[in-house]
């Protein structure tokens, strides 16, 4: 063929020797072998994917079209009834879904900016430390991420308690207002939930940001320094644009994680004051296991899924367009 440029002429093996031939067959064989072995590595994931993701999803979609009563063997097909009920004013499902959704959306709006800003700030802080102590602090900030939700909740119930909590006691020592209802009043309840969430999960975002910061080339900073850019300018014009892709990733994953808020309000505020911090997943679980209405609960969960997907797409489009 014309213009067939081979950059590795040596690998064409023009001279056939017995030794060479045996070498060739061995490589073909090992290539096939290695491909087979690599596909084997995918297999466990594939099995898990089908068993734990694909199958439940399909099952959930089917259930959402049924009057799926958990304690009964009859699961009559009811078409869109569950979805219609969710949008019917005055229906229990309607109140449950939209009241919960409001709580969830509030949490997303309050928490995501902090999850990003604090995560990045911690990453910058840890990165600017001397190399010797860097890993120590990285570990310290990441440790809470490994703690279970119930342990986290027990800790923060004790920190935020109105009358015997650590925070109010500390405030009173400084003669500051110390009768704050961190878990019982607004806006404090949201502040406490966002605070606890930050402490619990920020390590993950921080780690990703640290990795991204390490990828930024040192030469760019050097050049900017010579050009007279100050620290803030270097951050704004070099760091931020360089970690853009990771930033998008963090924005999307943080939004999804915040949408799935459940344990913090369930354990710390019990959805109070009143139903202010009652979030959507709490209501989905209530419908599913409190009332045994699996079909309706699946419809609620799927609508929530749909919303997360739409929001992720919008976020992605918005951030991508700027790139082009």
């Amino acid at each position: 063929m014309e213009g067939n440029f081979n950059p590795h002429p040596a690998s064409q093996a023009p001279i056939e020797t017995p030794m060479n031939r045996s070498f060739q067959t061995r490589t073909v064989k090992s290539k096939w072998k290695s491909q087979f072995t690599s596909s084997l590595f995918v297999l466990p994931y594939l099995i898990c994917f089908v068993a734990f993701l694909a199958y439940p999803l399909v099952y959930g979609i089917v259930m959402s079209f049924q009057d799926y009563e958990l304690l009964s063997s009859k699961h009559a097909f009811v078409g869109l009834k569950n979805y219609i009920d969710i949008f019917k004013k005055g229906d229990y499902l309607h109140t449950s879904f939209f009241q919960g959704l409001l709580g969830t959306v509030k949490f997303v709006v309050y928490s995501v900016p902090f999850l990003i800003i604090v995560g990045l700030a911690l990453a910058l802080l840890v990165n600017s430390l001397p190399a010797k102590v860097r890993s120590v602090f990285r570990t310290i900030f990441f440790t809470p991420y490994a703690i279970s939700a119930s342990v986290m909740a027990v800790i923060f119930i004790r920190v935020f308690d109105t009358n015997a909590g650590l925070l109010n006691i500390v405030l009173s020592k400084f003669h500051l207002p110390s009768q704050i209802g961190w878990l019982t009043d607004l806006p404090w309840a949201w502040i406490a939930l966002v605070g606890a969430t930050l402490w619990w999960t920020i390590g993950f975002n921080m780690l990703i940001f640290i990795n991204a910061l390490n990828e930024v080339s040192e030469e760019m900073y050097e050049a900017a320094k010579i050009d007279g850019a100050n620290a803030w300018q270097r951050f704004l014009y070099i760091t931020l644009p360089s970690i853009r892709k990771i930033m998008i990733f963090i924005i999307i994953t943080s939004t999804i994680a915040s949408f799935n808020i459940y344990a913090q309000p369930f354990l710390m505020t019990r959805g109070g004051p009143g139903s202010e911090t009652t979030v959507l997943l709490m209501n989905v679980f209530d419908v599913a296991f409190g009332q045994h209405k699996m079909g309706a609960a699946s419809a609620m969960a799927l609508l929530m899924a749909l919303m997360i997907i739409v929001i992720s797409i919008i976020q992605f489009r918005l951030t991508r367009e700027r790139e082009e």
């Binding site: 439940p56 304690l71 009358n163 994680a257 004051p273 009143g274 045994h292 969960a301 992720s312």
Partner: protein, 423 residues
């Protein structure tokens, strides 16, 4: 694009976490705690939610039974309390890995009976020589539906009054209060704001699910009528809630803005003199080494004595038909009826009259005998399917009232309206 795919994958994963739990693929976190040696014996699987301090007490009963029985072997399984009914529901609905015998709270029995998941225990009881009269009446009566008996009671756990003996002594009060007047008077004497000490810290969340119905019952009303219609905004209910609110804002014997478990924390710190809570708190208070006393709940309502209670019952799923298994269940239950003294050691008062009358029971620490005194007027949640859903908003409204953010009448009117939405 890689990133895009990843975001998608995570979105799907996040969402599916929910579907996953709903579809019932969640792994079962049961814990087998019984010793082996079941060889040749008929096995009976027994599920319980006793994941707290009470677990070892039930295990002891089962172990002792297994040692003395040469025909049957009870396989004792603990499922974490918060997971229990989820696992039970999934097991019953799929019919796989279901228990032969299990513990169920008495107020869940009507729901599971109406959904056709339970079988009557009359025949098994008759064969094993277990009689209704052997047990305290309230739970037996409640678990008898359309003339058939569905649950054999193990214990009854009513609300009780815990009080700090040291604080009572310092305030010069010689006995725990028995009615509303004494209660308010004592609480006011015990309150010393300068020391951050309170007479009775009013919880705004759990365990209001026990406290509020107790006061309503003491006012002579029920939260649902005979037809199963909720009556959450009756004058008696409004009076009860107003009284609880007044403790905070009028009598000022409780701090405001009490968060979840706030009253327990203050009680453990010796800054809350009285607490209404369940008998299951005993273990925690013992470990904290507080000098506390237990008394029946004072009559805080205006009409009569009453107390909200729960009760653990033995129930048998409908699909258990093997005659040998059923016979074994009867044999085990008969044994438990005579040996539930081990269960009483956990702080619970048992429902078996034989054990209640025994010297062993009377010699137990004071709590169990005090608890047993309340049995005559114990009440349970109304026998209505979805009662939990009907009252979910009730307790959110009560929360707002006790936080001083809503008027009792308005709150209960709205709770009633929401309850009527539940089908």
């Amino acid at each position: 694009m890689g990133l895009w795919k990843r975001a998608w994958g995570i979105a799907a994963a996040a969402v599916l976490g929910t579907s996953l739990a709903l579809a019932g693929c969640s792994s079962k976190s049961t814990e087998e705690t019984s010793s082996p040696s079941s060889s040749g014996k008929q096995e009976i699987t027994f599920w319980t939610p006793f994941s707290g301090a009470d677990g070892p007490f039930m295990k002891k009963i089962v172990d002792n039974y297994n040692k003395q029985s040469d025909k049957y072997y009870v396989k004792f399984q603990i499922i974490p309390n918060g997971e229990y009914y989820k696992q039970v529901d999934l097991a019953l609905s799929t019919g796989k890995k279901r228990p032969d015998l299990m513990i169920m709270h008495v107020d869940n029995i009507p729901t599971y009976q109406k959904k056709g998941q339970l079988q009557p225990v009359d025949d098994i009881a008759a064969k094993a020589g277990i009689k209704k009269e052997d047990y305290v009446e309230a739970p037996v009566k409640y678990a008898t539906i359309d003339g058939k008996w569905y649950g054999i009671p193990l214990d009854i756990h009513p609300l009780v009054l815990y009080y700090n003996k040291d604080l009572f002594k310092a305030a010069g009060i010689d006995h725990p209060p028995t009615n509303r007047e004494e209660f308010i008077e004592a609480a006011q004497k015990l309150t010393d704001k300068s020391k951050g000490q309170w007479g009775y810290v009013v919880p705004t969340l759990w365990p209001q699910q026990f406290i509020f119905p107790t006061v309503v019952g003491q006012n002579g009303a029920k939260l649902a009528d005979e037809q199963g219609k909720p009556q959450l905004n009756s004058p008696e209910a409004v009076e009860a809630l107003t009284f609880l609110k007044d403790l905070v804002y009028k009598y000022k014997v409780s701090p405001e803005k009490v968060a979840q478990d706030g009253e327990v924390t203050l009680f453990l710190q010796g800054k809350n003199a009285m607490q209404l809570n369940g008998p299951w708190m005993k273990d925690q208070f013992d470990k904290a080494k507080i000098n506390y006393g237990v008394a029946p709940v004072p009559q805080l309502g205006t009409k009569q004595q009453a107390v909200q209670a729960g009760s653990h019952n033995f129930v048998i799923p409908k699909d258990v038909t093997d005659a040998k298994v059923l016979e074994g269940i009867g044999d085990f239950l008969k044994y438990v009826a005579g040996h539930s003294i081990d269960w009483a050691q956990s702080g619970q008062a048992v429902a078996s009259k034989q054990v209640l009358a025994s010297d062993e029971f009377k010699q137990l620490t004071k709590q169990q005998t005090i608890v047993a005194q309340e049995f005559d007027y114990a009440q349970f949640n109304p026998p209505i399917i979805n009662w939990g859903a009907m009252t979910a908003d009730l307790y959110k409204e009560i929360n707002l009232v006790l936080l001083g953010q809503k008027d009792p009448q308005k709150a209960l009117d709205e709770a009633q309206e929401k309850a009527l939405q539940v089908k």
